[in-house]
Amino acid sequence: MTLEEVTGRRAMHELSLAQEVLRTVNDSARDNGIRRVTRIRLVIGKMSGVLPEALRFSFDAGREIVPAWTPGLFAAARLDIVEKEATAKCRRCGEAFPVGDLLDLPRPCPACGSTDLSLDGGLEMFIDLFEGD
């Protein structure tokens, strides 16, 4: 049974993301002989379009449902979400600086005055690590 069938909705893409997280960690836990996952750390950029609270909800809904290689694998798993700030980078001098959102971007570059800037960080969406025994 899929998470979508259980929750009866697919409208949040965090549901499919949570499912992927659980599936990926399950496969790695099996390969490493881990029977109980205690912590999973995700890195989510603030401009990735992912809502941490929706992801957390989806993770809790999914952990009992997504097939695990051994029963109770995710029963005690804590989800840590590290949010990464958006950063911009100057294409001319390489200066990197944080931005609240793109509309707040300082223009021109605070270091060299160039207006040739690019969004650098904030789009991350990856599983950093997990712990278990």
Binding site: A11, H13, T24, I127, L129, D133
Partner: protein
């Protein structure tokens, strides 16, 4: 025990997308993932593009919507093979849905496969479908702040279409502001300002598409910005 993964959350999707890309590469068909808000005019742009390119450039279309086959019906009326994907609430297409659609669609030997994504500027950007290039569209009535508000969508676009140019005088839309924001994210993507309804500005878009088709046919390594 700590296991360092540093694994993309969407690895499974990306693997299927890579399979799609390999499958589609056999036919030298240019695959375009068309993305915008609901109501920007994606289907109208496809209708116009089909009419302009005609039989000289055979196409196939995958339509993505939550519900109904209305968009596919419109494309079918033009005699172009089309498959409708209904996501039944899902906010984006994923590579698995496209893989299934390709089995029912006679895309081989066609010059362009258009994938019209679910109307949404957020989620579709994260899912690779196996396309050659992405086109992001915004209509003038939506406002010129869309690239700034939805950076990922516009950052990965090989081209940006500004639609509903015929309504420009009735809005406060500024092309300069849009371009200023867009260049922060995407320094090179061409911007095509057009009206899919009246046909104004369509020639440049069609010429660009023909160029991409030719590049794909000649086996160019890259035809656009890879996601």
């Amino acid at each position: 025990m700590q296991v360092k993964l540093v694994s993309n959350v969407l690895k499974a999707n990306d693997q299927i997308a890579a399979d799609n890309r390999r499958l589609l590469a056999r036919g030298r068909t240019l695959v375009v993932n068309l993305m915008s808000s609901p109501g920007s005019g994606k289907t109208t742009l496809l209708e116009r593009t089909i009419a302009e390119l005609g039989e000289a450039c055979p196409m196939a279309v995958v339509e993505g919507d939550l519900f109904t086959t209305r968009d596919a019906d419109r494309i079918e009326r033009l005699g172009v093979p089309v498959v409708q994907i209904n996501t039944e609430g899902g906010c984006h297409l994923d590579a698995q849905m496209v893989r299934a659609a390709l089995q029912d669609l006679p895309w081989e030997g066609r010059d362009i496969l258009f994938i019209e994504n679910v109307g949404n500027l957020v989620c579709p950007a994260a899912w690779d479908l196996g396309e050659d290039l992405r086109v992001a569209m915004v209509s003038v009535s939506e406002g010129d702040d869309k690239p700034a508000k939805y950076p990922r969508m516009f950052r990965e676009a090989a081209a940006v279409v500004v639609n509903k140019l015929d309504l420009l005088s009735m809005t406060d839309f500024s092309l300069d502001r849009l371009e200023e924001d867009l260049r922060l994210l995407n320094p090179a993507a061409p911007i095509f300002c057009l009206s899919a309804r009246t046909g104004e500005g369509l020639a440049a878009w069609v010429a660009w598409l023909k160029g991409r088709v030719a590049a794909k046919r000649d086996g160019a390594a890259t035809v656009g910005v890879a996601p």
